[in-house]
């Protein structure tokens, strides 16, 4: 899952980590880290998805706030 890329450590709350580990196990992920990486990648798409921008741009044009 992590391939050959470099990794860094991130601290998270202990209780949250315990919950993540439990869910990762039930969901079939090899490790909690693999699960966390998968979730983060999915969430990042929301911010990086340019379709969002296109929707907003169209709305703002209709409202007369951008040309």
């Amino acid at each position: 899952m992590f391939g050959f890329g470099k990794t860094v450590s991130v601290k998270i709350d202990k209780d949250l980590h315990a919950r993540v580990t439990k869910v990762a196990d039930v969901a079939g992920y090899a490790t909690a880290e693999e699960f966390i990486q998968h979730i983060l990648e999915k969430e990042m798409l929301h911010f990086e998805d340019t379709k969002n921008d296109a929707d907003i741009r169209a709305k703002l044009k209709g409202l007369g706030y951008i040309s």
Partner: protein
Amino acid sequence: MSFLSSLFKPKLGAPLVIVSGLPRSGTSMMMKMLEAGGLPIMTDSIRTADIDNPKGYYEYERVKDLEKEADKSYIKEGRGKVLKVISFLLKDLPDDNAYKIIFMRRDLNEVIASQNKMIKHRGETDESDDRMMIDAYMNHLAAVRILSRKRPNFEMVEIRYDTTVKDPKEAARQVNVFLGGTLNEKAMGEMVDADLYRNKKGATV
């Protein structure tokens, strides 16, 4: 110490005060408050008052081209003044100025309801799905917060529209503290017109 000198930064000059947020989140109300508080406004008054903004828009038309226009040197003219820039265009502000951003927040259901009414009044067509737009706006707002932390020349405070209407004095105090404490808070608070809070959550759209 004057407002300008208290906020003066040697390299970037006096900061521009930017009023931002999604359209229909109380940006014009905040512009009016700041004007009453004693700050000069950068506006060309091209977009005049209408049914959606009976007290005027306080816009500077050229800002609408920020995303496309290469020459943004005119923004410098706003140093020490207040300029309205919608949240979507904050990313396009040039780096040669310092910005103190007052970011208006409002319930997204209310924002969408008000925007939909405005689009109708303008005679425009809009086929966007409200739920989808709320998701897009939520992501956009998160991206704006990230942007404000990444840009060293950005300083941002978030002010809620509903609490401003409910307690204008407190909102005026918060804004005044953020801008250095030299504004006329009383006059700012008196500018808030609760009757203009028309698209409340749960109200008929």
